[in-house]
Amino acid sequence: MLNINDLHARVEDTAILHGLNLEVKPGEVHAIMGPNGAGKSTLGNVLAGRPGYEVTGGTVTYKGSDLLELEAEDRARAGVFLAFQYPVEIPGVSNMEFLKASVDAIRTARGEEAMSSMDFIKLAREKCKAVDLPQDFLKRGVNEGFSGGEKKRNELLQMMLLEPSLCILDETDSGLDIDALQVVARGVNALRSPDRGIIVVTHYQRLLDYIVPDYVHVLAKGRIVKSGGRELALELEKHGYSWIDEEVA
């Protein structure tokens, strides 16, 4: 479903991705780990089409067509979802308005009917419960004054409402307490399905105890430098990243 081939990208004047390759098939869960500043978030942002991130080489094919051709909103409508590492606050726009607009846009793009307000509110409340967010978070401004963990849960809430086909979770586990970690894991596991691809960016192998990945990759200096199964995560946890440096060098 997602095929990244020799991807080069820069932010402002800094080249960050230097020939990254990755293939995600439907039904697979990929974990990406790697040191700070390696380019993990950059990869997520490039895939989601964030302005300012410039692709300087390589290709990204999504469901058989060129993903990089699409505008950010069209990527979202085509089913690409990025759960942000640092979700922005949008004061004055209520979470509910925002969610409804987003669900409407994506359902329309999928050729489905728009949901009635009543149905939507019901659904939103239900999902709120699933991610353990009190209902009144729907009334507050988008992420406004949310704690770090609440923001992450709000990202998850959106993901569950939008039912994307490619989910990219950028450190959705960072800053979560143990209970919340399980909430996230449950949410992601619930979305696991044969026609959906999932990329989980994380620093902690702990999350992978709950979300068992099919593959683990190490992203360092803008490239996938090592790939393996679950056990790779355990090894990273034990030895850190330096041994990979040596191996790659």
Partner: protein, 430 residues
């Protein structure tokens, strides 16, 4: 003596109708002051960005017979309404206990003496159109709320310009004296059913007594060829609280001078406002916070979105007098320009003569935040829709701070309709 607005005849006519010597003198002194004031130009600091040329194109007369109109309608809101059409009281609900209303036009001899006392206290200062109001004042509504009165229902002053107000100048004055430890909500709305040109010239004077609490809305909702030039002057006594919300929507020319004086220590002011000119509209808010005594706090937030060929002016002055130690005063003014022909002029001013104070102001002119825009896009929301939602959100942030649900319910659809020209887009906003 000059009469740039061709209003002398109106003034003289008004004077001729009255037998109240004191009132005539009071008006005459204002007239001479008005006539002696040089007509503002670009060089006049207070009018630097607001040309008054358009005020000179009409020979303004006073309405003899008020027309009819209903004005702003609040659905399902239990309130006490006083409706003024073309500056004359047309209708009013029964007044709750503790509230007295006196009308300048119907003052009994005893009330005349009280009016003389009250009106002598008010200061026009150098506000040109407060002076004009005094010179041509035919009606003043004076509301007195006894101490320790808690009004359950808001008091709504519903000012309407009728379809027969074309060519009229409508000076009108509202005075509210809120007694010590009393609490109430005052809602002033201004609307118009006139094709214009029409010139509404309202002055609102408020005194919030010791430890009293006032929630105040001053909503300029007139559309079309309405020129609204007026002022709000408030005095805060010790430990009182005033929460005031202003809004200007539509109309060719609006200028409001808001002056709030901290005269008793320990008072708190929250002053918020929103202006949304579009088309060729012009809005100008001049606010002044006078901290005359120690221990006062003020927080002021004004936001504007200026579209099409519209112009907005904001001047927010904070003046800390010599002895006003321990004052905390803050002002924020944020603006969005949404068109290449729109214009904003803003000037937040601090004038400080006491050292142990904390004052700050900030002003921005910007576009919608790019990071937020990407968040919308990444959730599949179109750019156009995101712009509408973010613009609305920018204003809604202030609306959300309002205590009164009915006011919100009145304003939200108006704003939604303003931002989202298509209903399609409005649906997420209301």
């Amino acid at each position: 003596m000059s009469d740039p607005m061709q209003a002398e005849q109106a003034h003289q006519g008004l004077q001729a109708q009255s037998d109240w010597g004191w009132l005539k003198d009071w008006r005459a002194s204002a007239w001479s002051q008005f006539a002696a004031t040089p007509w503002p130009t670009r060089k006049t600091e207070a009018w630097k960005y607001t040309p008054l040329k358009s005020m000179l194109d009409t020979e303004w007369s006073l309405a003899e017979q008020p027309g009819t109109g209903t004005g702003t309608v609040f659905e399902d809101w239990d309130r006490t309404v006083i409706t003024l059409v073309d500056g004359k009281v047309a209708d009013h609900d029964a007044l709750p206990e503790g509230v007295t209303v006196r009308l300048l036009s119907k003052a009994t001899p005893e009330q005349r003496a009280q009016f003389e006392d009250r009106l002598s206290k008010t200061l026009a200062g150098d506000q040109l159109f407060t002076t004009f109001n005094q010179a041509l004042l035919a009606e003043a509504v004076w509301i007195d709320v006894a101490p320790e009165t808690v009004l359950e229902k808001p008091l709504h002053i519903n000012q309407v310009l009728s379809s027969s107000a074309n060519g009229r100048a409508v000076p009108v004055r509202l005075m509210l004296d809120l007694g010590g430890r009393s609490q109430m909500t005052l809602v002033e709305t201004f609307s118009s059913e006139s094709d214009g040109p029409v010139f509404i010239n309202p002055v609102t004077e408020i005194e919030v007594g010791d430890s009293a609490k006032l929630t105040h809305y001053h909503l300029l909702l007139e559309t079309g060829d309405v020129r609204h030039l007026g002022s709000v002057q408030a005095v805060l006594r010790a430990h009182s609280q005033m929460n005031s919300f202003h809004m200007a929507l539509g109309g060719v020319l609006k200028r409001k001078d808001i002056v709030v004086r901290h005269c008793g220590s320990g008072a708190h002011l929250q002053l918020n406002g929103v202006y949304l000119p579009k088309g060729k509209e012009h809005v100008d808010y001049h606010t002044t916070l006078e901290h005359e005594v120690p221990h006062g706090t003020s927080n002021e937030v004004f936001r504007g979105i200026i579209g099409d060929e519209a112009k907005a002016v904001f001047n927010g002055r904070i003046h800390i007098h010599k002895d006003a130690q321990k004052t905390l005063a803050e002002l924020s003014n944020k603006n969005l320009l949404t068109s290449h022909k729109a214009e904003i002029n803003t000037k937040p001013e601090l004038e400080i003569y006491a050292d142990d104070v904390k004052c700050a102001h900030g002003a921005t002119v910007a576009q919608l935040d790019k990071g937020s825009m990407f968040y919308f896009l990444s959730r599949g929301i179109s750019r156009q829709e995101a712009e509408v939602m973010m613009s609305f959100g920018f204003i809604n942030e202030l609306l959300e701070t309002l205590d009164d649900e009915p006011v919100k319910q009145l304003l939200r659809p108006m704003l939604a309709a303003l931002f989202a020209k298509e209903d399609e887009l409005a649906r997420h906003l209301v």
